[in-house]
């Protein structure tokens, strides 16, 4: 079965800056997390997948369609739900009016169907009680949930979320994971985040973007394996470690060579991510400067 998203050699430039550099990626049904630091190119990649931005080079197929063709873009958008990083809204819109408007723009023109769909997504994200409130009166987390709600309108096959959990409290993040879990198995979700635990909790595959390049593609377990055998716990800080920090229980967690008296612990996906970014950003050098 053809992957939902097929990317070969994807490149995008902003002037002299290369935001995406020859990205190769295949995304199938399920939840794929895009990890990476600020400025890595995550938002640009998601914008291209959402047919909002045109790449400068490379091949791209989304839902079996070629977004370079107008008809292909239209078919993609009819099966797409997109949550951009910054969701603009008109100051006079209420929650329900905004969702109604987006539903119309998604070609749900039958009024009864549209109202039912709006009620459904409001219930899904837990905003049914504030349907009549103006968006500008909502908290940041509620606005983020509203953004998710508009993406869910029309039950799209492909969902692209850019930083969906930004500003959400822990309970709301759990609800988000629950929402994703309830999606039918043939749906494809691509989400970008800084939160590694969100990725490990719900994602079946992970892509790590660093400096515009895809540095890792695999499962969360495989990401954790990058740090296997290199994560230690000790009672004191070891200056020779690549990276070390003190946990809430007072013990020090180290990544790198074994400090004296340290215990080998199981690496997590976060350890693997830090190993990846640390190795490329020269964090080892920074740690050396602090010795």
């Amino acid at each position: 079965m053809e992957p939902t998203i097929m990317i070969e050699g994807l490149t995008r430039r902003y002037g002299a800056t290369i935001a995406l550099d020859q990205i190769d990626l295949a995304v199938s049904a399920g939840i794929t997390g895009i990890l990476g630091p600020n400025g890595a190119g995550k938002t640009t990649l998601l914008a291209i997948l959402a047919t909002v931005a045109e790449p400068d080079a490379g091949r791209l197929r989304v839902l079996g369609q070629d977004p370079r063709e107008r008809a292909g873009r239209l078919r993609i958008r009819r099966s797409l739900g997109y949550l951009p990083q910054e969701l603009g809204y008109h100051r006079h819109f209420t929650v329900a009016a905004f969702l109604d408007y987006v539903a119309i723009l998604k070609e749900i023109t039958d009024a009864r169907q549209r109202h039912a769909e709006v009620a459904r997504v409001l219930a899904e994200v837990g905003l049914a009680d504030v349907a009549g409130k103006r968006i500008r009166t909502l908290s940041g987390g509620m606005r983020r949930r509203l953004g998710m709600a508009q993406a869910l309108l029309g039950d799209p096959r492909l969902l692209v979320f850019d930083e969906p959990t930004a500003g959400l409290d822990p309970e709301q993040r759990l609800r988000f994971r629950e929402l994703l879990s309830r999606l039918p198995g043939d749906r494809t979700v691509v989400l970008s985040t800084h939160q590694v635990d969100d990725v490990t909790a719900v994602c079946s595959s992970v892509v790590v973007i660093l400096g515009g390049k895809a540095r890792f593609t695999g499962t969360p377990a495989e990401l954790a394996d990058l740090a296997a055998g290199r994560v230690w716990s000790a009672q004191a800080r070891d200056a020779a470690a690549d990276l070390s920090w003190r946990g809430g229980d007072g013990s020090w967690r180290h990544i790198g060579t074994a400090p004296p008296g340290a215990t080998l612990v199981k690496a997590t996906a976060e350890d693997g991510y830090l190993t990846l970014t640390g190795a490329l950003d020269g964090l080892a050098g920074l740690a050396g400067a602090s010795r």
Binding site: A57, R59, A97, Y101, I104, K106, G154
Partner: protein
């Protein structure tokens, strides 16, 4: 699967009309029209003893400027980033706002023309030489100026300054209108051509946001890819 029926796309503009009417910058529209109308009223009220067609036309052109500049505020869409990923056409908001604004602008312009004609009639009392207001040329100028403002706003909406919208589009379009006024004055046909070109520019700028606004050199890479694929 998405809940869409056959032929839904054609019904989107009508269904979206109430929401687009709510996002319409009515304050700017009526404010601009009020200012233009006030300028015409002042010109009429304080007209000299013998206004001539040239002077009345000049005053009317000045009074048309606020109307034309209203168009610089019609293309802004706060949902721009979201709408780009939706099936509805990207130009829907700007086109609907323009369609809603046109009757108001036309009505205001008609009132201004009547005031100008009345002002000209004052001067007719003292001369037997009939004077007429060149209203086709004046309307062509207003149309061209409005189209230029709309085109500028549409282009600005695709740039990094899109958040400022009319604040950037208005002075830029004013400069373009001033240049066009000097270069094309007295040639109604060329004014209409300028207006048509401006509308074409507006339409080009309002196309699918997938396409960048420039004919990028990088597109050659895309084109070569297509050729390789073919």
């Amino acid at each position: 699967m998405p809940i869409t029926a056959r032929g839904a796309r054609a019904r989107v503009p009508r269904a979206a009309l109430p929401h687009l009417a709510a996002t319409m910058p009515w304050g700017t529209l009526f404010g601009g029209c009020a200012i233009g109308l006030a300028a015409s009223v002042v010109a009429y009220r304080f007209a000299g003893p013998a206004p001539d067609a040239a002077g009345v036309s000049a005053a009317l052109r000045a009074a048309f400027v606020p109307l034309a500049l209203v168009a610089a505020f019609l293309a802004a869409d706060p949902h721009r980033d979201l709408v780009a990923a939706l099936p509805a056409p990207a130009w829907l908001a700007a086109a609907t706002h323009t369609a809603l604004a046109l009757p108001v602008l036309a009505g205001t312009a008609a009132l201004q023309l009547r005031l100008a004609a009345a002002e000209l009639a004052i001067g007719q009392r003292y001369t037997s030489v009939p004077a007429h207001l060149p209203w086709p040329a004046l309307l062509a100028e207003l149309g061209a100026a409005t189209a230029i403002a709309l085109a500028t706003a549409s282009v600005v909406a695709r740039t990094r300054w899109h958040e400022l919208g009319g604040a950037i589009a208005a002075p830029v379009s004013l400069a373009v209108i001033a240049v066009a006024h000097v270069a094309l004055a007295g040639f109604t046909g060329r004014l209409l051509l300028a207006g048509a070109l401006a509308l074409a520019t507006a339409a080009w700028a309002q196309r699918d946001p997938w396409h960048r606004l420039r004919t990028a050199v990088f597109r050659q890479a895309w084109a070569s890819e297509r050729m390789a694929k073919a």
